[in-house]
Symmetry: C2
Subunit: 238 residues, 2 copies
DNA sequence: CAGTGGTCTAGACCACCAG
DNA sequence: TGGTGGTCTAGACCACTGC
């Protein structure tokens, strides 16, 4: 494990356990440098992660102030998968696989998914039950060549775990979009909607590997009252 | 101006102008280091900003690949203000100030806004017209002591510009939340809603200064079909 | 004034990728 | 094997804070 990651994790733990509590300053970079036997640059690498995650706010001339003792939930922002999300929020849930088929990417699908024309992809449709009600409908297109041995059992469990841990694919970044869409036939069929509902929240993502290969297109359609998106945002000055 | 900022801006410009185009690699860190007469650490600082903004994807052993020639819109993510957003998207819009008053933060408002109990705040309600229709309703609570000379004309124009450029306040970070809420009386009154609409998109933010003083609470309520949120997200491994 | 974080340098070794 | 980005070090000077 890299040194700065270890230092980050140790500091994160100490903040979560309130050894360093909200409103207190962390030890100075020099002191941390002595304590962890690391250069100041390495300490600063760890502190930058803490800052980007909203744990601390650095103040020139003063120090690093702890501003949050909690991990925030990043349902969208961090590219977190449904399973990780569900575990971290820890509510009851289950998944039903509605479709699991191999399709060819024609012109129309190419425009939607950005996967290469004439390639093949897994087309997966899953309904997610949260606290007894079907609230989310996930549609995925995943490049067949990168995961030819995918099975229905795997997608019922966790797709990302399989892709990353089993296949060793390095998922790197995504372009995401959230909009409010009119409900369609599939929403009506597979999500437990109220009569008054006319809309769902749609989260669409194009997901890429570290080598910039497009891996996946996902659309996640949420019942409006089950949708909540929180994030920690920093002001971009430049 | 800092060296790494200048290097970032120069590289960003060259990418926007397609001097370095999508699919091409940037010069290596060593070459950039020679060209800009900067150490590799400084070059890497600039490249990290490019990467975090989604312009490039770094690949160990290969180089920094350009993956986007466009600035993305960050309506929420970057803490961008309505005016900056409106200018960058460049559609027609105007603002009507519906309320502009000084209020005392009582218990109830304290829980909502997180501004200090018994302090005073500006309470501002603004309707935003986009392409001829009132589509967004903004409610703000801003600490009175930090902006005692605020006027209706200023909030009609740009609040953030005034706070940052005129008052020199350094806005640093925010906790944001997006939910789909039932429409209320004010929504009905001030937003041009369709009959079928039962919901609005609500974006709530607690905004803080660099010294961690809470400055502002904002709720922005959008007509559902005018709302769109895009972001570039990187996978968080740790 | 001393102490803090912000920037920058020069140099080193590593893991990874390609030919 | 040579070139790339990733990590790490030791040291320097700066701007800012608070006393």
């Amino acid at each position: 494990m890299k040194k700065y990651e270890l230092i980050f994790q140790d500091l994160e733990n100490k903040i979560l356990k309130k050894i360093y509590d909200e409103g207190e300053f962390l030890p100075s970079e020099m002191e941390l440098s002595d304590y962890y036997e690391a250069s100041r640059a390495t300490i600063r690498q760890a502190l930058n992660i803490l800052e980007s995650r909203g744990f601390i706010q650095k103040q020139k001339g003063k120090g690093s102030l702890v501003i949050s003792s909690e991990k925030l939930n990043f349902p969208i922002s961090g590219l977190t998968s449904y399973k990780e999300l569900q575990e971290s929020l820890d509510f009851e849930s289950s998944t039903t696989v509605l479709k699991f088929e191999k399709v060819k990417i024609d012109d129309e699908l190419h425009i939607l998914t950005l996967l290469p024309n004439d390639s093949y992809a897994w087309h997966i449709l899953r309904a997610r039950k949260i606290e007894g009600k079907y609230s989310v409908l996930d549609r995925d297109y995943i490049l067949y060549d990168l995961a030819p041995d995918l099975t229905e059992d795997i997608v019922k469990d966790s797709l990302y775990e399989y892709l990353e841990d089993e296949l060793g694919l390095i998922i790197s970044y995504a372009n995401k979009e959230i909009t409010i869409d009119f409900i369609n036939e599939d929403d009506r069929k597979y999500i437990d909607l109220a009569k008054i509902d006319h809309h769902v929240v749609s989260v669409k993502s194009h997901v890429y590997l570290a080598d910039t290969t497009p891996l996946q297109y996902t659309e996640s359609r949420h019942q409006v009252d089950k949708f909540r998106f929180t994030e920690f945002a920093r002001r971009q000055k430049i």
